[in-house]
Symmetry: C2
Subunit: 181 residues, 2 copies
């Protein structure tokens, strides 16, 4: 499966009102702490890959997940091959990765308020150090990437947002740009 | 924590009788399918490390675990630094490791019948292609490795087995030796 996602910078208050008008279903709010790893044998910045441990705290429980993201396969919608699974103990995964020579070098912290609308997940992200964003995403099979991407653009338009203002850089990338400026 | 483990080749029937005489507690039987990975940036055979995905099927459920084993820190008892955690989906971990250049090259299949005796886990292993073994193991803090190892030898003696016949090569190593002969 591929992950199709488009995001724009947007003030949350207006988008939240519009989601309510459209009858979007609130899915709750979570806090995510992401740890991004460097590899000992590849420069992920050059290969456009990412390896991440995520600690996600919801209202009832904390979920820990490890994710590999491959290089972009579709530039327009930032579509990547993704391998993601829950792990029992993320600190052990960190120790395992460290022993193999992988190193956690960057952290991204955000609050995510999620809604479901027209088969898409709409997320209102508040990212520490970056501000407010709205992300529209869905999973797609290889054949459906294009149509799922167009559907995501339609959702943005419904929310009075402009698909042309799409931010293609990841939060990690935006934070690194800020650091390097 | 360190894993202290000693194993010998032994006929299971006599050991099982002796475990019953000593009042060992039966912990059940599981089947383990182990997949060992090669690394893209290190020769684990030379660095004496291992990266493994284990699928363990018990009577009620299947547990999937990922494990890193570091080089020997104590030769006598085969003590290694170990990082191990449950994962939600081992096929996804396999896909993630493959994307990073790790490759599953060897498989070890065994049935394990476990008992608890004097604070140790005694395991009767039937390894496909290798035969029957008995393993005695316990976790130890760095300071306790030596005394825990001596305790494991005492357990072997109680089972009418000879600590001097200890097999220090892993099942993986024994299978590789067979392949290369």
């Amino acid at each position: 499966m591929y992950e199709v996602e488009v995001k724009v910078r947007a003030d949350h208050e207006a988008v939240r009102d519009r989601l309510n008008e459209l009858g979007a279903r609130a899915l709750g709010t979570v806090t995510q702490e992401d740890f991004y790893y460097d590899a000992p044998h590849r420069d992920f910045a050059k290969t456009d890959e990412a390896l991440r441990i995520r600690q996600e705290a919801g209202e009832d429980e904390t979920v820990e997940v490890v994710t590999y993201k491959g290089p972009l396969v579709e530039e327009e919608s930032k579509t990547r091959k993704e391998h993601e699974t829950v792990v029992g103990d993320s600190e052990t995964v960190d120790a395992l990765l460290s022993a193999l020579g992988f190193e956690a070098t960057e952290t991204v912290h955000k609050e995510r308020e999620r809604y479901e609308l027209d088969g898409y997940v709409v997320t209102l992200d508040s990212v520490t150090g970056l501000g407010e964003f709205v992300e529209v995403e869905a999973a797609a099979k290889a054949d459906d990437v294009e149509s799922v991407r167009e559907g995501a653009f339609d959702v943005l338009v419904d929310l009075n947002l402009d698909p042309n203002e799409q931010v293609r850089t990841s939060y990690l990338g935006l934070l690194l740009e800020d650091t390097r400026e």
